[in-house]
């Protein structure tokens, strides 16, 4: 006999109720199978691949390693919760992945997008090693990472240009 539990999660700014769940379920399972948010991918369920990366409060974590019930009272941000500036459906990181050819099969993409956002929020001008370290927990079997690193560098460059224009003000 397995007891079930019901609890509330705050996901992408919305209160969501998880009903009749087994206590041992991971946050990844709850997001995908109970809340209909399949953006976070399930590849290994052991913390190795990073395709399930989500933001839990202010930290990037593998959703597969977090007990869903333990995420109560915290704020969860998944790839579905990312929005671009000025109503763009894509964030600048997502757009750079497309522009630079950083997406092939796309399975790793949501996790990598979360990792690059997390890095740039903490460190807007990472050097190459910091960039590599930041994506060291995300496996990609297609791209060989070159296009992903290029995408991240493009975001840094574009944000740099944008803030330059802002500081120069209107002509």
């Amino acid at each position: 006999m397995t007891e079930t539990v019901t609890y509330e999660l705050m996901v992408n700014g919305e209160r969501r109720v998880v009903e009749g769940s087994w206590l041992g379920e991971s946050l990844l399972f709850a997001l995908r199978e109970r809340l209909g948010l399949p953006g976070s991918k399930n590849a290994c369920e052991q913390g190795e691949c990073g395709s399930c990366s989500v933001r839990l409060d202010d930290r990037l974590v593998c959703a597969c390693l977090v007990l869903a019930a333990d995420a109560q009272g915290r704020s969860v941000t998944t790839v579905e919760g990312l929005t671009g500036a000025d109503g763009d459906a894509l964030t600048d990181v997502q757009r750079a992945f497309l522009d630079e050819g950083g997406v092939q099969c796309g399975f790793c993409t949501p996790g990598l997008v979360m990792s690059v956002h997390d890095l740039l929020d903490r460190n807007p001008t990472p050097d190459d090693l910091e960039l590599r370290e930041a994506i060291s927990g995300n496996l990609c079997r297609c791209t060989g990472y070159g296009r992903i690193l290029a995408a991240a560098r493009t975001v840094v460059a574009r944000r740099g240009e944008a803030s330059l224009h802002e500081s120069e003000g209107p002509a």
Binding site: G47, G50, L60, V61, L65, S136, G137
Partner: protein, 253 residues
């Protein structure tokens, strides 16, 4: 969580330690630092704590990936008691004392007595690691790890060297080379005797090399799917010599 996902464990109840404020964070008590059991590797990697216990910060930064380091805890590394637990050689070198709480009350146990074998501890059922005490020492510290790649890797060997300039001692903790973390006592004695403590320098570069060899002799390395005993001894010798020369630079020969 990995075992739960794989269906190898089916917990009927769960205790969320991350919500117990007494287990979180760290603080200083005189010459000691009290590390809460729920301190994560991300907490140890940078900032003030990293400056106070640099070898622990170095070890933390080699663990898993940023996503792993954001959630995995010091208490969990001790509770797992894996021979490849990356903080364990550092804690061994620091003579860390583990605070344990249970129904019968609390006790303090040196780390090396708590870890009794491969994934075995002397924790009684219901006992919990609540904190770990390590000293604040004046002197260099260095942690080196060898694995088959740079990130997300289980250690093939680990070496932690800690210098105590005031106590005039060198301490070395080795990992992944025996069922439990090892202190290289012979090597420590040798290095201590061949150091110019008034200047805080090793007597010469050859001392670091000999120290490395003595560290290698104190291991009980085995062949397994990750490496061979021979490679492990060799890697310990090289890493220990390098770590000591960084933590306590030699006088020129």
């Amino acid at each position: 969580m990995v075992e739960v996902n794989a269906g190898r464990r089916r917990p009927s109840s769960v205790v969320s330690l991350t919500r117990v404020p007494e287990l979180a964070g760290w603080h200083r008590e005189g010459d000691e630092i009290v590390l809460g059991a729920c301190l994560t590797y991300a907490d140890m990697e940078r900032g003030e704590l990293a400056a106070l216990v640099p070898a622990l910060a170095q070890a933390a930064r080699t663990i898993g990936s940023p996503q792993i380091r954001a959630v995995a805890t010091l208490g969990g590394n001790i509770g797992t008691a894996s021979p490849a637990g990356d903080t364990l050689p550092v804690l061994a070198a620091l003579d860390a004392v583990v605070e344990v709480a249970g129904r019968a009350g609390g006790r303090r146990v040196p780390l090396l007595e708590l870890i009794t074998g491969v994934k075995k501890t002397s924790l009684a059922p219901g006992e919990l690691v609540t904190a770990v005490r390590v000293p604040v020492l004046r002197g260099g510290q260095e942690f080196l790890k060898v694995g088959t790649r740079n990130a997300m890797v289980i250690s093939v060997v680990m070496v932690a060297v800690v210098v105590d300039l005031d106590g005039q001692s060198v301490r070395a903790g080795l990992g992944s080379v025996a069922p439990v973390p090892v202190r290289a006592r012979e090597a420590e004695r040798y290095a201590g005797e061949h150091t110019d403590w008034s200047r805080g320098r090793l007597a010469g570069p050859a001392v670091a090399r000999r120290f490395g060899e003595l560290c290698a002799e104190s291991t009980a390395a085995i062949d397994d799917h990750r490496s061979t005993a021979d490679y492990r001894r060799r890697a310990v010798a090289v890493c220990a010599a390098r770590a000591l020369a960084r933590a306590l630079p030699p006088l020129e020969a």
